[in-house]
Structure formats: structure tokens, C-alpha cells
């Protein structure tokens, strides 16, 4: 009897709790709403911040990290209930993003410099945190991408619910990855910096390896981990050099250190290799086009759009802030690396047919452009033109921001395409503009921004880089003066090739007619949130392109903090005119450009559009020089589009091309067949990676000789080592 009652009560309780659970689901279900509410709340917090002063920015930054960690913790149960990942975890990430944007923006606006200690870590080495304008800028950048990802993610991960992959791993690793990136920005000592850095690297390894059924993905993930760890070693060594000259591991102690030029150069070289490896600069980029495409699309967006920027942040923090005194030779090296990455990155991008791989190579290009800005800044700053150095730094930072916006947009849209068509190969797509019209518009905005076309945002940052390079006549050395404009021409070549690359992408993927059955049957995603994520970024692309002057004025705090000077033409600029140097030297009024294009468009449309007729155009068969009978197979493919470039830049690629001619087989009634093979590989594999790999194999082969496999041998090794160490200590 009693047993029965207990059972019944417990049943009712469980039913009630399930009801409550369902209600909670329904409430939290609309995560657009919850992010909106969060936005409102943070607006109130921002108001509070203005009222209390900017100290709240640090609070928001830490809150953002905590929310990211919370999203990670919540996801532990995601395997049992996918709802946890889809709504709770992504909502927490969105909140983390909103906090990051608010905290970062306040930090940049108020030019705060808040330091704190965190009672964790080793007893004598507390973790130091610090938020200043530079880290605030990158925090805001992470936040913006995070908001878009949190909108996009829930609909995208539904696909994984039916697979055997663990949703918990995805959620946990994503939260840790984001927390790691934010902690890298907040770290104020080398020790904590490396912990956060490793958290970022290792957790993203699990994300790259998420679709681990395919061997190629596992290989890519291993390569990524290998290069990330090798890079981390270089960064540790770089910090080690600095620490050797200072009294501790904190950044404030390292800033005080005075290095001899030789040691400074050694530290810079180590830092450049370490951070450059993570940023994907050529020739250390090999992991990037392998790892970025195989991760889930929203993670690809975070890796390409945001993680590369964290590496850029590391380089800026290390060279401009910690090393302090820059040398122009470093600037030249960075400039050359940047130019090479930009040109080669876009050339390789042009050759790719996998959409996400193409976008990954284009990230190499854009990191190259950012490096060009940084290199120019170093050259000018170290030769006594700090204001021009500030201009180069602002150009690099603005491009970092813009790249975060449009590359996240493109990866998320590529994710939408992948989700709707299950196709990653451009050569099998086509005509998606008819079936996925909204994604088509969003993707077009991304392409226009990336190709540096006015009035979008990519153009502004490239224009600023051009303007910096054109101030070369201020330099005294004739060699520098003639070298710097040549890099500007490299940038121009990059711009032209990028436009060609994205005409190819858009033309092959969205225009023309579908090249395969499942692409023909594709339709627009029903999820509004999946469109809202990249759509939000598209709006920002336009805003940052049309109103660059106010945005750049916001950024001025960073060069003031790092170089001690603001932009040369800062006083002359208004919201309408962007005049980085002076109004006489160069001016660009993006709002007026947009207005003029719209006015000319409306006027010509009004004048020309016929009135009084039922139809303004008659539709018919395509003309095609009168040949007729078009099929989708007759369209120009991506490979065909890129063919002139493949031929003209043949030296840059590792091309394997083969044409097989199979004679007709009369018995089986098969006509003559031609089979064409084309493989375009990365030259750096043969030039750099294979020799290094072979050398490591050889060395490890030699090392294996002392391993006999007998326990007594190993014991004697240990004994001898111990004796040696005792001897060393006793000396």
C-alpha cells in the first residue's frame, strides 16, 4: 500500500518536473528572443557602466568568460538531451558574446587599463588579468562573431543529432575554445597566457577532429595539433628570452626589461614564428587549409574569423607592447611575409574547388594583408614617424575586424549551403540564387566585402593600407622608399585576384544552372535564426564600410596606448569624410559614394523603365550565339574559370596534369574515352614540410638505436643520468 503511494507520488513528481522541463524548453526555445533580451539587459548594464565609470568593462569581460565556461558545463548533458546544446548552450554563448562586445567596446571607448589578480594557479604565481584598449578591441571582435554563431548554431547542429557523434564533446569543446580565446586576451603574465593559449589550441583540436569518421579529417586534426604545439613552443621560448631579462613572468615586468638589439631580434623572431604559425602566415600555413574546412561550419567561422585574430593580437601584444622598441628590419620581414601570404594565399584560393577550403586559403590572404599593415606600422614607427605607424596599425586592426566579419559570414553561409545541399564541391553546385535567395544576398555581400569593393568594409581597410604605403616618401632610406610602394602594388594584385576568386565562387555556386540533382532540389533554410546570424554580419559589413570615419576614430585609443600617437589627420576628419593623413592628401566619403550610386540607379531606372506596358521585358530562351540546346554541363566550371590563372602563375603551384586516351573498345561497344586528371598541390609541402618531416624521421631512427628494449639498459640510463645530474649540482 505504502509502496504504491510512494510510487504514485514519485510518478506525479516526475511528471510535474517533466512538465516544468517542457515549459522551460518552450520559454527558452526562441533563442533569438533570449539574445534580444540579453541585449536589452546589457544595454542597461552599459548605462550603468557610463554612470559608474568604465570599471564595469572588466566585470563584463570576466562575465563573458564565465558564461562561455557555463555553456561548456551545460553541454555535458547534451548527449542525453540535445535540447541542452541547441538552446541552453548556444544561448549562453550568445550572452557571452553580448558581454564581450559591451565590455570590449567600453574598454576601447574609455581607453581603460584595469589590472587584477586571480587567486588561481600556483601559490606563488597568481594569474594576472588586465583589460586595456587593445584587448578590449579583440574581445569585442570575438563577441560579434560569437553572437552570429550563437544564432546560426542551433539549427546547424540538429544535423549531428541523428549521427553517432557526441554532442557533448561539441558543446564542451566549443565553450572551452571560446573561454580560452578570451582568457588569452585578458592574460597579463606569460604563464597564464600560455595556459589560456593551450586551452584554445587543444579544445579546438577536438572541434577539428569532430567529424572523425573520415581518415582525412583525423589527419588534418593531427597536423593542426602538431603545428599548434610547435608554435606554442616557439612562443614559450620567446617569452623565455624576455623573462630572462626581466624580473618575473608578468607582462608589466617584461615591459620594463631592456634587451640588447640581438636578443630583442631573437625574441621577435621566435615570437613571429610562434604567432605566425597560429595566424597561418605563409609558409607556416599548411595546417590552415586542412583544419578549417573539416570542422563544423560554425566552428570554421570562429577559427577563421576569430582565432587567427587572437594570434594577431598575440603578435601585436608581444612586439608593440612587450618588446616596445621596434626595429625597421622586423617591419621589412613582416611586410615581405605579409605580401607573400596575400598573393600566394589568394592564388591558392583561386585554385580550390571545395568551398570551405577556398575560404580557408582566402584567410591566409587576409592575414597577409593584416601583416602588411603591421609591417608598415613597424617600419614607420621605428624610423621616427610614429603617426604614420599609428595609421598602419589602425589599418591592420580595421582589416582584422573586417575580416572577422566577412569571413565568419562566408563560413556560416557556406555552412547553410552545406546543410541544405549536402554538397561541399563548387563544381557540383550552381543556380542556388533561385532556390536560396536570402543566403544568396548575404553571401554576395560577403563576397563584395572580401573583394575590397566600395562601399563595403574590406575596401576601407585596404584603402588605409594603401594610404600608409604611399607615405613612403617620408622615409629617409632610399631602399625603404622604393620597397614600400612595391608592396602596395602587391596589395593591388591581391585585390584583383581576390575579385577574380570571388566572381568564380559566386558565379559557380549561385549563378548559372544546377550541376547536380541534389543541388537542383535544394531549398532555402526554413530556420530564420540560421539566416539571422550571417545576416547580422552582413549588415555590419555595410555599416563598417559606409561609416568608416566614426569607427576609426573609436580605434584611436589603441595606437595612443601602444605607440603614443594618434592618426596624423585625426583632427580634420568628420563622420562623413575619411581623411587619415590630411584632407589634401586623401579623402574618401563612403556615405556619399553609396548615396550617389543609389541616386544614379534610381534616376536611370525611373527614366528607362517602360510605362504603360504589361511586361517590361520578354523572357525567352538564352541566345548563346544561336547555338541553342544548352545543358548545365556546358557551363563554365570553376576549374575552367581559374585556368588562365593556373597557366599564368604555373610556377606557384605543384600541378599534376594527365590526359588519358582510352582507345575505342569494339567488343563492348564503348567509344573512345578521354580522362583528364588535375591535381594542384601546395608547393610548400615539397619545399618545406617534406624535408623537415624526413629529417625528423631520420633523427628519430638514430635515437631508436639506444632503445634496446631491455629493462636493465633503461635502468642503467636512469642511473647514469642521475649521477650526471648530481655531479652538476655538486659543482
Amino acid at each position: 500500500m505504502l509502496k504504491n503511494v510512494v510510487a504514485r507520488v514519485s510518478f506525479e513528481l516526475s511528471e510535474q518536473s517533466q512538465n516544468a522541463w517542457r515549459m522551460a524548453k518552450a520559454l527558452a526555445g526562441n533563442n533569438i528572443l533570449s539574445v534580444g533580451v540579453a541585449g536589452l539587459v546589457t544595454l542597461i548594464i552599459t548605462g550603468y557602466a557610463v554612470w559608474t565609470g568604465a570599471r564595469v568593462s572588466m566585470l563584463l569581460a570576466v562575465l563573458s568568460v564565465v558564461l562561455a565556461l557555463a555553456s561548456s558545463v551545460v553541454s555535458i548533458g547534451a548527449d542525453r538531451d540535445p535540447f541542452l546544446l541547441r538552446y541552453t548552450s548556444f544561448t549562453l554563448l550568445g550572452l557571452a558574446g553580448v558581454c564581450g562586445v559591451c565590455g570590449g567596446t567600453i574598454a576601447v571607448l574609455a581607453r581603460v587599463d584595469i589590472a587584477g589578480e586571480f587567486p588561481l594557479g600556483l601559490p606563488w604565481m597568481a594569474w594576472h588579468l588586465r583589460l586595456d584598449a587593445l584587448s578590449g578591441f579583440f574581445l569585442a571582435l570575438i563577441g560579434v562573431a560569437l553572437i552570429a554563431v550563437s544564432l546560426f548554431g542551433p539549427a546547424y547542429v540538429r544535423e549531428y543529432e541523428n549521427s553517432r557523434r557526441s554532442l557533448a564533446v561539441l558543446g564542451i569543446a566549443t565553450g572551452l575554445f571560446i573561454a580560452g580565446m578570451e582568457l588569452v586576451l585578458l592574460a597579463d603574465d606569460a604563464f597564464f597566457f600560455m595556459i589560456a593559449w593551450e586551452l584554445m589550441s587543444v579544445s579546438s583540436y577536438f572541434l577539428v577532429a569532430y567529424e572523425h569518421e573520415q581518415a582525412a579529417n583525423r589527419r588534418a586534426a593531427f597536423l593542426y595539433l602538431l603545428m599548434a604545439e610547435a608554435g606554442a613552443l616557439f612562443i614559450i621560448l620567446a617569452f623565455g628570452v624576455l623573462a630572462g631579462f626581466s624580473e618575473g613572468f608578468t607582462f608589466s615586468a617584461m615591459r620594463e626589461a631592456t634587451l640588447t638589439p640581438m636578443w630583442a631580434t631573437i625574441a621577435f623572431t621566435l615570437g613571429l614564428i610562434g604567432f605566425g604559425m597560429k595566424a597561418g602566415i605563409m609558409p607556416l600555413h599548411a595546417w590552415l587549409p586542412e583544419a578549417h574546412p573539416v570542422a563544423p561550419s560554425h566552428i570554421s567561422a570562429l577559427m577563421s574569423g576569430v582565432m587567427l585574430k587572437v594570434a594577431i593580437y598575440g603578435l601585436i601584444r608581444f612586439s608593440f607592447d612587450l618588446l616596445g622598441e621596434l626595429h625597421w628590419e622586423w617591419g621589412i620581414v613582416v611586410l615581405i611575409l605579409g605580401s607573400a601570404s596575400a598573393v600566394l594565399g589568394v592564388l591558392y584560393a583561386l585554385m580550390q574547388n571545395n568551398l570551405k577550403r577556398l575560404l580557408a586559403y582566402s584567410s591566409v590572404e587576409n592575414v597577409g594583408i593584416i601583416f602588411m599593415g603591421l609591417g608598415l606600422s613597424m617600419v614607420f614607427d621605428s624610423t621616427g614617424h610614429p603617426q604614420l605607424g599609428a595609421l598602419g596599425l589602425v589599418a591592420a586592426l580595421y582589416h582584422a575586424l573586417n575580416h572577422a566579419l566577412f569571413k565568419s559570414l562566408l563560413f556560416l553561409s557556406a555552412g547553410t549551403i552545406l546543410h541544405q545541399t549536402h554538397e561541399g564541391d563548387c563544381e557540383r553546385m550552381g543556380g542556388l540564387i533561385h532556390s536560396m535567395p536570402k543566403t544568396a544576398v548575404i553571401f554576395l555581400i560577403g563576397c563584395l566585402s572580401l573583394s575590397a569593393l566600395p562601399p563595403f568594409n574590406g575596401f576601407v581597410s585596404e584603402w588605409l593600407t594603401f594610404q600608409t604605403a604611399l607615405q613612403a616618401s617620408a622615409l629617409k632610406s632610399g631602399v625603404l622608399r622604393s620597397f614600400v610602394p612595391v608592396t602596395a602594388a602587391m596589395l593591388a594584385l591581391t585585390g584583383g585576384l581576390a575579385a577574380a576568386c570571388f566572381v568564380k565562387v559566386y558565379g559557380v555556386v549561385f549563378l548559372g544552372r544546377p550541376r547536380s540533382r541534389h543541388v537542383r532540389l535544394a531549398h532555402e533554410t526554413p530556420s530564420k535564426a540560421m539566416l539571422a546570424g550571417p545576416g547580422f554580419l552582413a549588415v555590419l559589413c555595410l555599416v563598417f564600410g559606409v561609416l568608416p570615419a566614426p569607427m576609426i576614430r573609436l580605434l584611436e585609443g589603441i595606437p595612443i596606448q601602444l605607440i603614443g600617437h594618434s592618426l596624423p589627420g585625426a583632427h580634420a576628419s568628420s563622420w562623413l569624410w575619411l581623411t587619415p593623413v590630411s584632407p589634401e592628401t586623401a579623402s574618401y566619403a563612403a556615405p556619399l559614394v553609396l548615396l550617389a550610386i543609389l541616386v544614379a540607379w534610381v534616376v536611370s531606372f525611373e527614366l528607362l523603365h517602360p510605362r504603360g506596358k504589361e511586361v517590361s521585358v520578354r523572357k525567352g530562351e538564352p541566345w548563346d550565339c544561336g547555338f541553342g540546346g544548352l545543358t548545365p554541363r556546358m557551363q563554365y566550371t570553376g576549374t575552367a574559370f581559374a585556368m588562365p590563372f593556373r597557366r599564368l602563375f604555373a610556377q606557384a603551384f605543384d600541378i599534376q596534369e594527365k590526359l588519358e586516351n582510352h582507345p575505342p573498345d569494339l567488343e563492348n561497344k564503348r567509344p573512345r574515352q578521354f580522362v583528364y586528371y588535375l591535381h594542384i598541390g601546395d608547393r610548400f609541402w615539397r619545399w618545406l614540410y617534406e624535408p623537415i618531416g624526413n629529417a625528423i624521421w631520420r633523427v628519430s631512427g638514430q635515437v631508436a638505436r639506444i632503445q634496446t628494449g631491455h629493462i636493465r639498459t633503461y635502468l642503467s640510463y636512469s642511473f647514469l643520468t642521475l649521477m650526471f645530474l648530481l655531479w652538476v649540482i655538486s659543482q
Partner: protein, 314 residues
Amino acid sequence: MTWLLNILEPLLFIAAAPLFAGWIKWLKCLAQNRKPPMPWQPYRDLAKLFRKETLVAEQASWIFYTAPYIIFSVAVLAATVVPFVSVDMPTAEIADVIVLVGFFALARFFQALAGMDIGTAFGGMGSSREMTIASFAEPAFLMAVFTLAVSASTTNLSAAIEYHLAHPHLIHPSYVFAALALMLVAIAESGRIPVDNPATHLELTMIHEAMILEYSGRYLALIEWAAQIRLMIYGVLLANVFCPWGIAQDTGLSELAVGVVAIAVKLAILNMVLVASETVLAKMRLFRVAQYLGFAYFLGTLGMLIHIVVEVGT
């Protein structure tokens, strides 16, 4: 007065562009012993196209319908920015020469997309070739312009021209190289012989024509007109930047009259040069164009080096 002039001048520019194209054709026919159409024939052609019915392929997307308007609007905007009869117009400051290159790139981007929209082989072929040539032409163009920008320490066209006018006694050997480079680029970008033949409709050699094959009626008219405006922009750039004398620096009527006559004379001379080269030269293979534009880039770089080594002094 300045603002009125500022509105009138681009309108004059746009209106004169077909005449400039017709004039070249007229002169070329005469030079080749053919019977020429009158120089105002392009106006008749445009009027005819505007009146005709517009036929569009049924699988065309909105890109195909909007591209002509974008191309034309951007051409009009570019014409507003380039100093034509007088310098120091208020609108000239909207965009400097790098933005001008950006405008051309924007128009080309949409033109190439429109070429691929219908899904014909010719359209894609034209787009691919156009983008190939453009990606070589753009650095050469900028290199030529940078020489100018560095010596006048400005990228604003108006300011550069005024600098040049204010220092007439300075001799710039680097300008000769920059002007030659810009001329080569202008020929490539406006689709003239030896890079592209505007008169051809032979399927395998066309570039610009291949992209606009599917257009008809008013859309075709807009694109043709925009191409004529672009050709004239290159002409005016060459004429006014490297040889600015005669351009009006004031809004006085006599100055403006001199300005109009001066630009007409300069364009006429350029016309003759263009016609002479088009008559003498043959069209080159597509893969030779890279070398041709590489040469233009080389000339631009040489101009820059000469400027740095000879003209600045250390």
C-alpha cells in the same frame, strides 16, 4: 555657381562619351580607307537600343537585371570624380584615385557575375578572361598612379593636377614612364586592340562582348554607354593628369570655354594615337596579355624608382 557647374560637368561628360567613341571609329575608318559612319552614330545606336524590346533569358536571376544599372551608376559616379573641364570641384573629394580603381572593380565584378548568370559557356569564358586581364591591369594601373601620388604627395586627382599646375617648371622624367604605363593599361581595360577587339563577334576571341552576349534592348544600351564612359574616363585621366594645361581653375566663363577647348584638343590628339596604334597592331593572344600588362607594371615601377632616385634626392 560651383555646385551648378559640378552638376553640369558630369552631365556633359556622360553626354559626350558616345561622341568620343564614335569619333574614334570615324577616324579609324578613315585611316583604314573605309567609309566611316558619322561620329554621332553611337547616339543613334543607343536610341535604337532604348526603343527596342528587351529580351531576357528565362533563367536569369536578379543579378542579371540589376547589373546594368549598377554598372551604369558606377560609371556615372566615376565620371563625377574625374576632373574634366575644371579642377577643384566639390565632388572630386568624394573619392581619390584608389577609390576610382575600386569603382571600376565594382562595375567589373557585376559585369562578370552577369556574364555567368545565364549559364552559357561564352558568358563564363568572357568573365574568366575579363577577370584575368583585370587582375593584371589593376596593379599596373595603381603603380602608374602611385608615381604621381608620391611626387605630388596626394592621391586626390584634383590636388595632383593643381600641384602639377603650380609647379610647371619641374620636369618629371618619371611621368613619362607613368603615362606610358597608364596608356597601356587604359588600352587593356577599355577593351581595345591589341588586347580585345571591340568590333569582333568571333566567338573564341571576344572578351567584353562575350559577357554581354545575352543582353538586349535598354540593358545593352546601358552597358554600352557605361563602356563608352569608361573609355572616355581613361582618355580624360591621361589628358588631364599628365598634361593638365588649359584646365579651368576658376568658374569664369572664358576659363571654362578654354577648358572645354583644351580637353577637346587633348582628346583629339589621344584619339589619333589610339587610332594609329589600332591600325598598325594586330590583336594578341590571350596569354600574351599578361606579358603586355607586366610590361606596363614594369614601366610604372621604373617610373617610381626614377622618381625616388632622381627626383627626390637623398
